[in-house]
Symmetry: D2
Subunit: 394 residues, 4 copies
């Protein structure tokens, strides 16, 4: 809005759920945070001309485009924000980085370790030229999570021995729910493991400041066939008598050895009846512990084991104080923020990093590390849950 600030012209590829969330992030961040560049919602990209035009109007972008290659080639674009399905990430991100665009890429970074490795290589080449890249594990930007990270980094939990991450949803509980592309391995790559388990892995690695070195994992598919919809790939329409084969995991469990000696337990499931988006995290050390549930995302539970014995307990911190990450820019104490605020924070940090010339986190390398853990879990599960290294040697 100000004539003095440089503009940052953004092209966003994709217009589904993540497109809506990212659009809101780009729109809102500059209204609440002081940015050194003003993001401009320049162009939205999607293959279907009619749909992308509808998304353009709904999400408030200036123009629509059907070929991502054109925005990559467009010298008027500064940033490419990739919200398209995982199998398209590598190609778009590498092209955009090589063309000198800063890239924000939704998680998971890619569908395979090999793709992710090529993306990291492209990101490193680009960084050498001052081009920035970030993978969108947006939950790192939930203030309660940022505050938990600060407590841990300050040593308030002491030596961490155990972590517990459970990402619980229940949208597959009904066995007559329809077959969708998300349940077809050839299209989705993975089931709950890659979709929500990836968040769990990134979160534990982020909060503990370490990596998962080896895993023993189990995958299960509870409902192996589901009714096909008339429209084969969508979620709407009427169920037919025909049934399709579910080829991804419904739920995943794994135990991981963290660098430093802690043991983490992980679960990702779409069958946790009654849990809608319950991403629950607990981290225990010899000086304290934290607990978090995304269904109460404005709260952090903190246990200080160094308090007087009679006064110990989990403190419910309402993470709405000016002292908490990002919160000074929102509302007065006690006023909550919602899911999409994490995207405004992501935009804030990404723009700050671009204008300050810093490499953002989580980096593509961080995204690759998650990919390696995912792959190791699949290998372990296919091998009778045998312990499997996550390929740190690579």
């Amino acid at each position: 809005m100000s004539g003095t600030k440089p503009r940052l012209r953004v092209a966003m590829v994709g217009y589904g759920f993540m497109g809506a969330a990212h659009s809101q992030g780009w729109r809102v961040a500059p209204r609440f945070f002081e940015l050194d560049a003003e993001p401009e919602l320049t162009v939205i990209v999607g293959r279907d001309a009619a749909r992308v035009e509808a998304a353009r109007e709904k999400f408030g972008w200036m123009r629509a485009e059907t070929d991502w290659r054109r925005v990559v080639e467009d010298s008027a674009i500064d940033v490419v924000d990739i919200c398209s399905p995982g199998d398209s990430h590598a190609e778009i991100a590498i092209a955009a980085l090589d063309a000198g665009k800063h890239v924000l890429c939704e998680k998971p970074l890619a569908n395979t370790v090999e793709e992710a490795e090529r993306m990291v290589a492209a990101a490193e080449r680009a960084a050498a030229r001052g081009i920035r890249s970030m993978v969108g594990f947006s939950y790192r930007r939930v203030p309660a999570i940022g505050f938990a990270r600060a407590l841990i980094a300050d040593g308030r939990l002491g030596d961490i021995r155990q972590t517990r991450a459970e990402y619980l949803q229940d949208w597959l509980v009904d066995e007559n729910g329809p077959m969708t592309w998300r349940l077809d391995k050839s299209q989705a790559g993975s089931g709950s493991l890659g979709d929500i388990g990836a968040h769990a892995i990134d979160m534990i690695q982020y909060l503990t400041g370490t990596t998962v070195e080896a895993v023993s994992g189990t995958l299960a598919t509870f409902v192996t066939e589901r009714p096909l919809l008339g429209e084969s790939r969508g979620l709407s329409g009427t169920a037919s008598a025909e049934r399709g084969r579910v080829t991804v995991d419904d739920a995943a469990w794994f135990t991981g050895r963290l660098a430093g000696g802690a043991i983490g337990s992980f679960e990702a499931t779409r069958y946790a009846t009654g849990r809608k988006n319950a991403f629950r995290i607990e981290i225990s050390g010899n000086r304290g512990a934290i607990a978090f549930d995304l269904e109460s995302m404005n709260e952090l539970q903190f246990y200080d084991a160094t308090a007087p014995a009679g006064e110990r307990g989990f403190t419910r911190i309402l993470v709405t104080e000016p002292e908490h990450p990002y919160m000074a820019n929102w509302w007065p104490t006690g006023h909550l923020i919602g899911y999409e605020h994490a995207f405004a924070h992501e935009v804030r940090d990404f723009v700050d990093d671009i204008t300050a010339g810093r490499d953002p986190v989580p980096s593509f390398a961080d995204g690759l590390q998650v990919q390696r853990v995912l792959e190791a879990v699949e290998l372990s599960a296919a091998n009778g849950s045998a312990w499997t290294e996550t390929g740190g040697a690579r």
Copy 2:
């Protein structure tokens, strides 16, 4: 953004906390809801030219103005949104309505019953000409509250006997906190009673679909003198040795008789140590009960007294389902919304009412009713807590 939709050109008066929240409402509502007119953030109004210009840039308005009278006279303006202090509401709202502008006025409607009555008269004159007015009790638009209202309207609580509304904050707990204009009756009109007690009154009247007919009330000021700041009216600066006199209530308690025979208890305080924005509501009937806390605004507790005896209990409903008010337009199940979403909902409803030619609620008359209860509480408190009618005869 669409060329086909009519625009709704908005002028917003005021640029404090409420200005930020309303700006976000106007900006975001059309991106998530299908509106029949596209709001345009046309002009922001404030007395201080430099400050209003800074607010214009920060909040993203097209131009700034220092005299509200000019926007009232401006034929290019469709809506006047009043976020300025309460003592200015009546003059601006009446002028705007008389000039044919739709008016959204922040709560409380006015500082006195007399002002509120003149505003209602203006609103009624305007309504006869198709001009709409609404008072901004935005908490009615929290989805959990809207859903509670629906349960009550459907008879799920049966005959309501008791209501309990406690609006608890703690920002005055420190007795060395500074004197501010909010603690000076000549400027603020009232203390916790008018500021947050007004929300409690509107909420109970809304949820029960009835009115408070008589009250017995008590007001207290715990800290009667506070250090003056160098800058006498602001919150920043260093405290001086000089002290100012607190002339408003720190806390208010009252019992109210509701039309229909229920009894409500009310509390509003800024001394509830540890409660940041805990607006807690409980309503009990012979068939069920609800409980709500604004600090967990995405949750509604519902007790169904008609369930089998062994299965009764308060159900924590995570109010994020498509079946819940407003929520189908936001994120998937289990993803939370925040404080300012209520303002997007307010804008959605106000715009819908304008385009559909309906009178919005809460109306100015609803705002006047709250004012009458506030006045009765003050009278009762000044009269030894004697029961005082709220002037329903008027």
Copy 3:
């Protein structure tokens, strides 16, 4: 069980709900606490010979008796424990004290201030001769409450400004529930006010270490007629077409001025749908706050306003540590206790006081003070909620 310890021979008058709880207290206390005298469940007293014999067997007393005067005259009795209805307390307690028996009297101390005053006089006469008396406000002996009292006494809450006590039950919600003696003023004396409101008053006075000096109160009866049972005074039997008149309060609300300047709000109701025994307490000071709910009686919520800003919040203390009152004698950390444990604690303290030659608390004078507040609330309610002194001059 040990031959060396003196016995303390107890006579208990009454065998209803409180008789069961007191019997358990006398039986269990010596098994978990080191007492200097061994209580003996010597005689249980009730007017109906068959019923008292059944109670004797069920509760495990050595013999039964139908006339309380005989146990008062019996030199083999050391303690009289009064669990009979409130209108019998004064006569029995005064006779027992005058006969040199230690007396434990259930709350409320009496049905009137006049009776309570005579009981206090008798207790004072007895104390001069080394005879002890205690009124049974057993909730003082819930460990979480004892720990809260210790925090407050240590100044951890600082200057207390507000208290909030709500005793919520719902057993009258069904308007077709039967008429019982508890709803008849001539028999019960009072409704929810005297029954559960008395607990609220004692608790706030105990926790704050102060007294309620004046009140403004309101009483309400929501259902004024209820079906009479065939058996007029019992709870069982079939409802008839005939209806009886409810002459006590269903719910009571009052605001009280505490010595020292704090304001307390109080509510007692049997119409809080879904709340079974929710005795909720909140106390706020300028350095901290506590919150408690009897439905989660092993937990205390403590807010330390002196903690670093970002780390403040209510800490859920699971009150099961050896550092907490009474808990070292029960189970390992994390194992809960129940309702009746408070009676074992009451017996422990009463026996300790007797053997150590100390006057117990709460004393009959404490019970009288509660009675004065109850009376003032009734006077205020009858007088349009006018502020009424609690008779501190007496």
Copy 4:
């Protein structure tokens, strides 16, 4: 107490934590439940004459004995209640059963599968002669658990797909805490796995009505050396510079395949900082779910997936209604019970089974099944977490 009821003369072996809990169960059960035989606390048995005499007096038994063989041979004893360490269970239980005594044996049934198998054989021989045996998984008798079992048996959860059981304690968090016999495999047999993991296994098998058929498990010991106390086996005394080797697991994780196709995840740990006795259970089916935490043992969370979409949520059932298992015999609605009440329920059921001539549950065979799962977890953990059958073929 009644002359007409037969007596049931009990000998209890052991006088530690479990001895205290069982004593309370035997003492209290007949005071709250109608039993057809009156238990008599006849004799308490322990090897150390002075200690067992002190325990006799403290716990209220009639006489003390130092050799369990004498009570097994004593024709005046009807019941042997075994609370001694696990390595003594088999010998005592088999001798007692063969001598015609009913046997209640604390969990875990034995330290090895082989011992447990011999105990089951003895129990089967005894059952043929009308002699009863029960293993003391007392948490089955927590009312909230019994009610959960009833809901599941009634099909309210539908087809169960997932279970989650986490038994979390934190008493080993301090790495300078002393070495004790519980951390020495030669004495304790196992660490957290056998101690609290056994509860988790029994609970899931009980609630689902099925068995764990195969497991993949991991064990970890975080602190491998701890200071030795002057007194080598006790918990008291001062720590020396000498250190002992911890040879049991500090924490255990395993995934189990349940008969019927559900997958269960299990965790048992003594390093869950801030969790004191948090035995947390979640069971998810296609029609509903339950959640439970032993730290809030009077509550059951129940989710009914068949409720209207907008009204679904976890209902916090306060399990204190007469409709709930065992609760009609305790206090009015809303009054909590504690940890040891489960032992009174255990006694009630055991005595009822004896007098009615029924075989109690959980049986020794149920205890053996738990033992088999424990063994399979240890085998799996020793074998790189490979999936291991629990020996259902036996």
